[in-house]
């Protein structure tokens, strides 16, 4: 189980290879990569700065992963989240889940992303042509996290 918060970019292939090496008999690896978009509501994004709460972030991510491991049969997980100033197209987050079961890998990967979006103390500030603004939390993200009410339930 890897959980990292870092300013540097990450190497997707290396992260997946390390995960696979830790779980040689998993068979199924589901992953998600979140990227800085070049446009938000029709406005060009110059950059996105991610602030976090050092110490709490890692703890919150580890708890989310631990909950996923209680709900599904997982062989291994990797969560890497960047902080600092990122440009459009740059990677923000990687969540990868290895399992013997395709469905478990998919469900756990989606669960970790949904909870990360609503529970892990990260905040985004966008730089637009008109100036900077803090990104508002989305109702759709709250709704996505609220789906996972029953252990083992799918989306």
């Amino acid at each position: 189980m890897t959980v990292r918060v870092q300013a540097e970019d990450f190497d997707v292939a290396a992260e997946l290879a390390a995960l696979q090496a830790r779980c040689p008999n998993a068979g199924a690896v589901a992953s998600f990569i979140g990227l800085v978009r070049g446009n938000e509501e029709g406005q060009a994004v110059k950059a996105m700065t991610l602030e976090h709460y050092p110490g709490m972030t890692e703890k919150a991510l580890a708890e989310i992963v631990a909950e996923a491991r209680r709900r599904w049969e997982l062989a291994g997980t990797a969560v890497v989240h960047r902080v600092g100033r990122l440009l459009p197209g740059e990677r923000i987050v990687l969540v990868a889940v290895a399992s013997g079961h395709r469905d478990h890998a998919f469900a756990a990967c989606q669960f970790i992303m949904d909870y990360l979006k609503t529970q892990a103390p990260f905040w985004k500030k966008e730089e637009l042509a008109a100036g900077s603004r803090w990104v508002e939390a989305k109702d759709s993200d709250r709704a996505a996290a609220a789906r996972w009410t029953e252990p083992g339930s799918a989306a």
């Binding site: 979140g34 703890k59 989240h81 905040w123 803090w134 990104v135 508002e136 939390a137």
Partner: protein
């Protein structure tokens, strides 16, 4: 003493990233500490008053208004999170 920390939009609006407060029974719960901060009026009332959307963590764990605060604890106020 307790450590109070502010993040993101709240940090900017309140003009500080944290402060130390003397622990006392009136701030022995999250709700009490929030009332104490609200009593400062102005931006505090705007950012933490009725209708304001924020979250609280006690010792780096999300916490509701009834959560206990003990001497030496770290309490954080921050906006709903937007990572990922």
């Amino acid at each position: 003493m307790i450590q109070v920390r502010y993040f993101a939009r709240l940090r900017e609006a309140l003009g500080r990233d944290g402060e130390e407060l003397r622990w006392g029974v009136e701030i022995a719960q999250v709700a009490g500490l929030t009332r104490h901060l609200l009593a400062r009026g102005g931006v505090w009332e705007r950012e933490l008053g009725p209708g304001a959307r924020y979250r609280v963590a006690v010792n780096r764990q999300l916490a509701g208004p009834e959560a206990a605060i003990r001497d030496g604890d770290e309490v954080a106020y921050f906006p709903p999170v937007t990572g990922g």
